[in-house]
Each structure stands twice: as C-alpha cells, then as structure tokens.
Symmetry: D2
Subunit: 396 residues, 4 copies
C-alpha cells in the first residue's frame, strides 16, 4: 500500500473548513470541537498534502480587527513555513453571517453589496500576501426561493459589476491572482445563480477581464443536478477555464453531501482522473493545478476519523490515477478506441480548405451516401465501457 | 370563458410533431394514426394558432427525392396560404434514423457528420423558402453513455465547426435565418452535450457567427435537471439570446414528459409568463417571438383529445398572462416589491464614477457598516410569494 | 379576502419548531432570535390555528431536570388554557444531540438505543398529560452513508423492537395515543431507513401492535424522491393509516426546503386538498385529523415575515379547499369524470360471485374481445387535467 | 481472465427482450433486427447462462392462435432441451398494445381489466408448462399522469382483486408458481402505482395469498427515485420477499437506462453483490434465486456488441462477487466492523426478558447515561467505506 502514499508533487490540497468542519448539520449540533488551523497545517503536511486553502473567516474570526488578524496570520504563516505547505487558493465567506441572507454581490440591499466587495478586497490582500494564485467565488447566497423577489437580470448585472470591480482591484494591485467561479444549483438558496458549469462559463464571457476569470467546478455540485461531471470538466477545459477543481463525492440529486472523493459515483471519478491526468495533448495531464478536496468528514466520525478521511481522499485519487494509466496503456483499449472511432472525432468534418460549397458538391456526402449501411455498423461503446470497468476494478 | 380565445396576435405556434405524435413510447405501440400535415395546418388555424413548425422528416418523408419533396411542399404551402398560418421556425431530424445513433455533428464517424450537415443544408433551403426566421438545432443524439467513448473536447470542436459551416451557408445564401440551440440534459442519449441553457450559451460565445446564434430553451428540458426555468430564461435574455422558446410541462427529473404547458410546475409557468410578457424595460414583453408549444398529447387520448390539448396550451397561457398582468398592476404587489428592495438591485453597487479606490475610502461601506443591523431587516420575500400565489389562483 | 380566514374548526396546527426555527442552515448562522413557546401559542391562536405540536426539546431544553420541566410545562399549559389551543400531536427530538449521530432506535451502540427509548417514554408521559392523540416518529438519524456500516435487517429488527416496546408502554399506561411514522428518504443521513410512505407502511405491517401505528406523510419528503404525494396519501388512506399529515412545499429532489404549503408543486397541493376534503365515501373529508404545517419560514424573513408565512399556509389551504369544492360540484367535471370512466374503476373486475373459472368461460372477455376497438377509445384525461387547472386558477 | 467465466451454477438468466431489444427508443427507429428466440437460447447457453425468461409476446406474437402458439413453444422447448437452459421466470406484456394505454388490472375500462386477467392466465399455463417457478408482474401502465383521472384507492382495490384471482388460479391449477411484483416509479406512465419496493411490500401485506407474492426489485427502478438499492433489497429480504431480482445499471433520476450491471453506480453494485452473496446467516448467500439481468444493450451496438454486453453483465457480477468475498474475509475489515459496532446492532435493545418496566427502572439507561461521552466516540464508518472502495478497486 505504500505505493499510494501522497507527496507534495501530487498537488493535493484541502480547505481548512473541510477537516475543520465541526459537523453541525441542519438537524444536528456539532459533534466535533473546532480545529486549530495551525494544527491542521501540520497534520495535512504529515499526510502528504502540498496545500491548504481557506475562507477569510476560517482563519480570522469574523469581526476581527487588524491587530487580531495580523497575529492570527503570523502564526499561520509560521506553520506554513515550518511544513512547506503552500496556500494555492483563498476564498471569501459571503454566506454564514446573517447579513448575507439575501446574497452578497446580488443582495437587493445595496449596502450589503458594497460591504461584500470590501470584505473580498480585504481578503484578497491576505491571499496575495500568502502567495495564493487562485481566488474562488462561491456565490452560495446569490439566488432566490421566490421568483418575483429577485430580478435575475439585474442580479447578473450586479454580479458582473462586482467581479469587474474586483478584477480591476487585483490588476491594479498587481496581485498575480486569477478568479475561479464555483457553480452550484441550490442549497442554501432554493435556486442559486450560475447553477452549473455551463451558466458560469457563459457569464464569464461577458466580464470585462474575462481572461482572468475561470471556473472551480465541484464534483458534487454538478451531480446534484444529475449532470455528467466528466463532460462538465471537459467543456471547461475546452473553454480554457479550468482554473481550479473541487474533488468530492455525491449520491445524485439530494442535499450537498461532500463525501470523500470517489465515495459517490466511482466510475465518474475514474473518468475524471483519466481526463485530468491523461487528457493533455500528449497523453499527459490536461490540468496542472491543485487537486483540491472540498469534502466533509462524516458527522459520525471523531478526530481520528477526520484524518483518516483526509488520507482516503488522496489515496483514492492515486489509486484511480494508477488505474487510468493502466487503462490508457492497455493495447486492447487502444485498439478498442480506434475501433470505436474515438480518435476520428478529432478530424475536422470538412477537409482542409473545404467550404460548404465543396461539401454540397460532394455527392458521396449525401446523394450517394449509404445511410443504412453506415447505420448498421456497431460502435463498440459497450466494449470500451467494460474495459474501463475492469481496469477500474484492478482486473486487468 | 370567451376571454381566453387565442388569436394570431398571440403568436402561438405548434410543431407538426406535437399534435401529430402517434403516441409510440419506449414500452408501447402507437395509439393514434398519423396526421396529415395539411389537416394539422387547418385545425391549428381554426384553434387560433398563428404558426406551425416542423422537422424536415415530419413534412417530407426521409429519403424522398426532389420531386416527391416538391409535391409535398406545394400542398403544404397551399394550406398555409389558405389559412394564413406562418412557419416561424423549422428544424432538422438528426435523431430518428439509425445512422444518427452516435450523433450527427459529433458522430465519431466523419461520413455521418458530413451527411448531417448536408441534411441540414437541404432543409435550410426549405426553411428559407417558407419564410422561417428561426432554425432550431436540438442535438438529441450528440452525447454519450460511456465516458471513454466520446472525446468531449473534440466533439465540441466538431459541433462548433458544423454550426460555423451552416452559419456561413445561411449568410452566403442571404436567408435571413437565425439559429437557436435547444439544450437537453439526457434522453435519448445517457448524457447530451450542451445539457442546459448555460452550457449552450457558453458554447455560442465561441462561434464564428455568434451574433446569429441564440437559444430555444424548453421548459421541461431544464426541469429534467431540476433547474429553475424562469432563471434560465432570464439569463438567456440577459445574454440577448432568447431567439425562440419551447413551452410545455414536466414533473421534475424523470423521462421527458412534454405535458401541456402549465400542467407541470404551475408556479414556474406563472413566473415564466410574467417574465416574457412583463419583463421588458417598460413592463411590456421581454420577448416578441413565437410562443411555441413543444408538447405531446397524452398517449391515452384519441384525436379529439389531441385538439383539446392543443387548445389547452393556448388557453392556459392566456390565463396566466391575465393573472400576471393583474399581479403586476396590483398596488399591493408594487408596494411589496419596493419593500423587498427588488427594484434596488438595478442600482449599480458603485456610484457613478466610483472606483474600487473610492469604495475602499468609504468607511460607511465596511469599517462603520452595521452588519448585524442590516441582517436584522426582513426581506419580505414570503409576502411576495403569497401575493403571487393568490394572483395565480385568481383570488385577488 | 375575509372568506379565507381560518378558524379552529379548520383544524390547522403548527409545530413550535416551524415558526420558531431560528433560521440556521448548513451554511449560515441563525437570522432570528428564539421564540418563547408561550408567545407562539398566543400568536397561533390569534391567527386562527387550533393546535400546536412540539418535540420534547422544543419546549423543555435538553437535559432539564424534573423541576425545570414542570415549570416550563405549567407555563405552557396556562397559555393553552388561555387560548383554547390544543396539542394534537407530540414528537421526540432524536436527532439534534450528537449522541444520536448514528441513529436512535437503530444506533449501532446499544446504550444509545436504550437511552432513546427512555427519552421517548419520558415525553410520551408529557404528550398524554397534554392530551395529545398522536405521537410522531421521524427517524431522521436512522440510516447510513456507508452500506457496510449498517446491517439494515438488524436495524429494522431494532426499529421494530423499539416501536413494539413503546406501544406496549402506551397501552399499559392507557394513554390513548396512536403512533405515526414519518418517512423521509435522506437528510440528514445519506440514506434514511423507511425512506417513503411505502416502506413505512410495509414495516408497520410487521409490528406487534400494528393497529395503533400509522403514518404522518410529509409533502416535501415524498417529493424529495420525486414521487407523487397524492398517490402516496391515497395509498396510505387505502391501508387505513393516515393518522396525521405534514403539509409544506418543495421543489423536487434537492435539500429539504419546508416551504409554505402550496408554494412548491401547486397542482399537487390542489389534488391533495381535493383528496383530503372530498375523498370520503360521500364526497366529504377522507381525513379528519389536524392539517399540520411542518414548514420553515424563509431564512430571509424577520419575525413579521414569520407570522405572515404562518397565515399564508392556512390561507392557501382554504383557497385550495374552495377551488376543490368548486371542481367537484361542477357538472362539466362530473360529466368528464364519467366520460373518462373514473367511477367505473370502483366496479369489481369480476362480477359478484364470479370466479376465475367463469372468467375463463366468458368468451367476450378474451376470445371475442376487440382489443383494437377498445384501444381506439380516447380516455379524456387531458380534458380532466385542464378542468382541474382552470378551477385551480379560479377561472371557472 | 478465465477465472470469471460464468457457469450455470452461477444462476445467471436473461430476458428474451434484453438481448433481443431492437433498440427503438422514443426518438429513434430500431437499429437492430429482431432476434430469433431459439438463437438467443443457444447464444446465452454458450455464454454460460443458466436461464432465460420472457413476456408472452416476446415468444408468441400478440394475437397468435393456439396452433401458432403451440408451434412456437415446441420449437423453443427444443432449444431449451438442447442447451439445458431453464425458464426460471415468465411474465406478461401488459403494456405494448394500445389497449393497455390506461393500464391493465387498473384500467378504468372494466373490459380491459378482464382481458388482462385472461391474458395472464393464458400465459401462466405456458409458464407452468415450461417449469417456471416465478411469475413477474410489472405494472408499467398501472398509473396516471392526471391526479383526478385515476381513483388511486379504487385502483389498488382492482390491483389486489386481480392478483387475488390469479393467485387462486395458480393454486387451483397446482402450478407451483410464486408471484413477484416489480416496482417502478414512472415511465411509461407519469406516475406508476406501487412506485418503490416499499409500496409494493405494503400492498402485498393486504393480499389474500400474500405468502405466495413477493418482489422482483430492479436496480435501476429504485435508483430512478435516487433511493438506495442495497437498502431496498435488505428490507425486501427482511420481509422474506426477495423472490427474484433484476440486475442492471442506471445513472440516477432520468429515463430508464437499463445499462449493463455495474455500469451505473458501481459502489452500490458492490454492496448489492455483497448482500446477496454474503448476507446469509452464515456468511453465505442471502438469496439463491436467479441473478437475472434486465438490461438493454446500447442502441449504438450491433449484434456482436449485444453478445459482448450479455457477457459483460455476468463477468462484472463475478468480479464483484470475488471482491466482496475478499472484503468479507479481510481481518482488517472484520476488525473495522467490530470497531464500528456493526454486529452489535443484532443484539436486542432490551435484554432477554426485559420489559419497558425494567428499562424504566434502569438508571444507567437514562438518568446516569453520559450522553456527551457516548457522543464523543467516533463511529469509524469512513474507514469501512475506504476499505470497501479499496477492495472494490482490487487494491487489497
């Protein structure tokens, strides 16, 4: 089992709020005491992680003055220095305090919107100070339960305005930070704005500094809408917008479970790791950023269980990575992919230099095309599916 | 009840395939005979519709030669002339024939992709001939069941290539047609590309002629992912991409039901009609295109039931339109909207001329902001919700 | 609007935990202060409710000794006496305290199971003292996230054992209380035991005192599995097990929303009220127990919004009741029901005295049956649907 | 890979309609020609299956007279004799012909109900003749789309009446056949009666001959409601009602996919095989009936793909069976199960002879119980989850 021990080179990172979740849920009180962020840094480093991320309020209690904040940050930075852990990503808590009950950037109350921008700016300074390269925006409260109570188009205007202002700030400060939006369909709001990877990608295309804004897709968030997460990440890559990723597990459309990575839809997790690790042009990684686990240890677990679950995320990822490598290098798989015409889809439909006119002129394309003959050829997709399952099961 | 009789001015349209559905389903044989398109045109006109739409194969049987096609079209056009019905939209059947079993524009088989483009081009000629202004693309077979069997990024390349080629064709032919993509998450494929309004909007932003490509959102398709359809349409409008709309009903994540409009999520249907009819800048319509019903009469119905269901779609729309007008003009609603701050969201978060620097300098925005005080104010959204329900119920 | 003012005769009841929900959710802190149960009793009475229900810990803080408890109860009883409000139902909180993190009656830890039984018994005494006739069991923590961590058959054994013991206790104490199980598919556990009305009905059939155990179905809980709630209640009535009911709203498979009744699937709410109020043998009520609202005022609301939402539940119910009465008494509806053969389903398939032998001998039943002819008759269901929608909309 | 070759001792069976599905779907024409049942028998036998099942109309075309039927059956029986394949289960097609558009046993039209009973009786004779021990009832058309169009309680009366009559017939004929109901939530009807395992179990408890009626749960059908299938089968076993099982794959709440077993939720498939194979009292099988695959080969496949997919079902099952055996025999798993208290749940909550009175008298159970202390112990469920995943991945 030593084969699957993570190292910093694997780029595994965790949020302070993941292992640190006190396990309070909508129907139950906390089952675990708070974790000291400094202890978390040391424990994550011991387990082989390379990075830690946080919301402002995870590290610096809400309402802290500058002095308190400096002290907390100094102590945290010391732990980073001691362990070598980095802070690849930082984000803002714009959802816990009741002031955000109707949203932050899109609250109907303009004063709340202004406050939210300032809260982010303050934390962007800290993110830059700690060397973060990615700043995540999860707009968990940007949404509604009542259609008539939220002017969605105005809300999108304000969302865009907020991100444009913040992007200008980062650029002006020369922070070297990129933004990553994290879509989610619902919970805590009945319906959240930018509910999927697709909606967020479309929104980004309208931003003033769209080049510095990408996505942070989360496994479970897309699966809460029963959408295919591998497709979602592939489209995100296609748009050049996979800036960060949140790995976890989910069992379909229900509350946000935040299970350990792989402990939900395992076949999809395999497809995802295969895409991330082998989807690049040369069969190498299609993504080189942090493999960030945004999960919650089960509420039933004590602190030992917490650290076991943290390790389980990384170990499962490494196992899937190995399985995916074996899948890709299996000559039978290569042959099956070719038989299914998978690589052929990269060939343009029109030949080089061809236009619609020459396509119209090509009688083999339509007038002489044997539709029934083409239809009779099997695609061989079931065989590929079974090959993938067997590699996943370690049976090849 | 005569108040709710549709007229052509209401711009109601139906697909030939809707009333003409022979009611064959995955587990059952057809329960109704085929409808003659000419009869359909007459019956729809009698009921007060203004338009009819079709897939190529709905009107002209698959495989017809040019002569057969001309005869069919001539007879159809005569019915249009006699009734005054228009053809606002046309689309292509790229899903029924087995040749499309792995997709059309994104089939792994390049010959199928070329054939698909030609099939569309042939039908674009007919669409233009009949005066259609919108051409819909529903890529029902563009997808996969097996992640490793479809290179999603290559598929998006091919999808884009196909639409770029077809847009060039339309432009070159000076057809005056715009394209409208219709998203759907699944069925008949396990997962379909561009599964939601969001994914399709993002995709459009990458097209060569993106200005001539918009969306044809369908109520039930978004609701199959349990997404908020009113939000979906609002975001589509926000992007300037509501080119067409498919109205029907659905009961959440299950097979595609295509119920009569309003016979699924009635509150959402109310919100939708309110948005379409009163979401414009002056409280007028936010959308002036066809109100197109893409539904299926229940398989249990005979032909009388078919025409009753066609009428039911229009009548329900008109009832909701009246309810929405009453809602908007109710002074109590206006007062409640103001009390909830709904109009305030249209005020930019930064004052005119303000930048992030002046926001940082504004101590009232953060340092002196009373978060707890702001949090304590109720939003009044529940009251708005109840007002909407009571107007919907005709109780105000 | 005065027509829709509730009176105690309408039998509307609320849980203390509904209006009293402090609006803490998985991602946010409380937005409202706690409510004094005594104030709640007075406000509910003012609004026209007839009953109030509670979990033990809603009224008597967890861990209170007998003296503290007696004081609290005395004060509460005084409020009941002053207002005339009754306590039709009581239940136990077996989910908030961390000791129940793995369940109560089905916790793997036997000591927890024994503690849970005692906690219920203590509260049954109070329920009896306050005159409650129904005691609800919602087993929110009885479940699992990990299949191998819970022996489901053993869990069902323990669940049954627990209910058998408690039933014996109630019988022995001559408390005049019946039990009502409340199913839910998930949340807070990943999967909860007895996830639907069906599973719970089946389970009840195995209990020692099954005659005193029925159901408390909740609108949103069945809709979280996208099941038809009207069907669920009808089957519950068919088994003679509708002992209590929880009314609220939900938008399909997502987290438990607990919206105001009718503010989710409005058509289903209409069908439900129609069943409850007009599903009895003579067209009268099929259920005469409390119409209990188990909802949560939106987290965005202040205390005024809380009481408005309480009133909205009752008013919506009364509106739907009036609409359903009009639907039932409409001659066109009666005619449509007859044309659709709805009443014919009450005629046994075999004639009186007929056996399978006589059925076999009846050549008209099979050998001479005209299947195609029977198939060609339309069912007229679409017409019924539209009639229902129009009555719901107050348009008839 | 020879380790995973199926033999008749594995009791794998297939429906004629599975491999024989011509791949017609709601949006597409058939992509494969019909299969001759005799060829199917031979091919399944070659692949290592032991049994074949069918709907009456799969084998004998609808409307065949007795002579045609006898000829077909004789030819089929010859193939069985030649191959040694058995017919463990037979069922009736009560859904394809339009006459069943509103249901069979619960059609509003009494003549249809009588016809349906006769159609079943005729096929029960054939089932008995071929030695089937189980007769499955899937009521795919027993349901509704419109609440007011179906009196659910009357429908349940008729459903019960139908099964009671048929049970009497089987008993009178001394056929040695048991009935197995197959629940499904929707598709083809909008909502189907007895939508889950739970509803069907409850219904069975009301039947005249309930001892001869059990269930045929199907993986995908429960997962269409996002319910836990392992829990469903465990509850079915607990009621003594697992008479048959349908194995396949599904990706959550969407149309009925009927994927190859394991190709949907793989972790759940592992849990299921573990339960079936190792859930018995001594760690042996909890179920000894057919492992019946009710799946559809992907519409993209040709006939070679069909047979590959049939083999894939069996091979995946055998792989999971081996993984589950390794999981159960791993000392670390045994230790983890004990540490999690999984076996403790089999210990009754009350000691032998204990009653509620002695429980009340036990101060350690409540008055002296340390709830906080008990709450602080971790459950170790995450560790079990990871152990299961690693065994599933073949990594232990």
């Amino acid at each position: 089992m030593s084969d699957y021990l993570p190292t910093p080179g694997d780029k595994f990172s965790f949020g302070l709020w993941t292992v640190g979740w006190p396990a309070r849920d909508p129907f139950g009180a906390a089952t675990r005491p708070p974790l000291d962020p400094v202890e978390t840094v040391h424990r994550l480093a011991d387990l082989g992680a390379y990075g830690v991320s946080f919301h402002d309020d995870d590290l610096v209690p809400f309402g802290s003055d500058d002095g308190e904040r400096a002290a907390v940050v100094s102590r945290f930075r010391k732990a980073l220095d001691e362990t070598g852990l980095v802070v690849p990503m930082v984000t803002t808590n714009l959802f816990t305090h009741p002031v955000f009950k109707d949203g932050a950037f899109t609250a109907n109350d303009r004063a709340v919107r202004r406050y939210a921008l300032r809260k982010v700016m303050r934390n962007l300074d800290l993110a830059a100070e700690l060397g973060a390269e990615t700043y995540v925006f999860w707009g968990g409260r940007e949404g509604s339960e009542v259609d008539s109570a939220k002017d969605i188009r105005a809300a999108l205007d304000r969302f865009r305005e907020g991100l444009d202002v913040l992007a200008s700030y980062v650029i002006d400060c020369e922070y070297g930070i990129r933004f990553a939006l994290e879509p989610k369909p619902n919970e805590p709001r009945g319906d959240i704005l930018l509910p999927t990877v697709g909606h967020a990608l479309a929104f980004i295309s309208t931003l003033e500094h769209e080049e510095m804004v990408g996505l942070n897709p989360e496994v479970g968030h897309e699966q809460m809408s029963n959408l295919n997460f591998v497709h979602a990440v592939a489209q995100t890559l296609w748009h050049g917008k996979l800036f960060h990723i949140d790995l976890n597990g989910q069992h379909g459309p229900k509350f946000d479970q935040d299970l350990v990575f792989g402990h939900g839809d395992l076949i999809s997790a395999f497809g995802l790791v295969d895409l991330l690790e082998h989807g690049g042009p040369d069969g190498g990684p299609a993504y080189d950023g942090p493999r960030h686990f945004d999960y919650k240890p089960l509420r039933t677990e004590d602190i030992d269980g917490v650290w076991q679950s943290a390790a389980a995320n990384m170990r499962t990822y490494l196992l899937l990575k190995e399985r995916a490598a074996a899948f890709r290098s299996d000559p039978e798989v290569q042959e099956a992919l070719a038989a299914s015409g998978v690589p052929d889809l990269s060939t343009p439909t029109l030949a080089e230099g061809e236009t619609f006119s020459s396509l119209v002129a090509d009688k083999t394309a339509y007038e002489q095309f044997d539709a029934d003959g083409a239809a009779s050829r099997g695609c061989g997709f079931g065989r590929l599916d079974q090959l993938a399952i067997e590699h996943l099961l370690g049976a090849r």
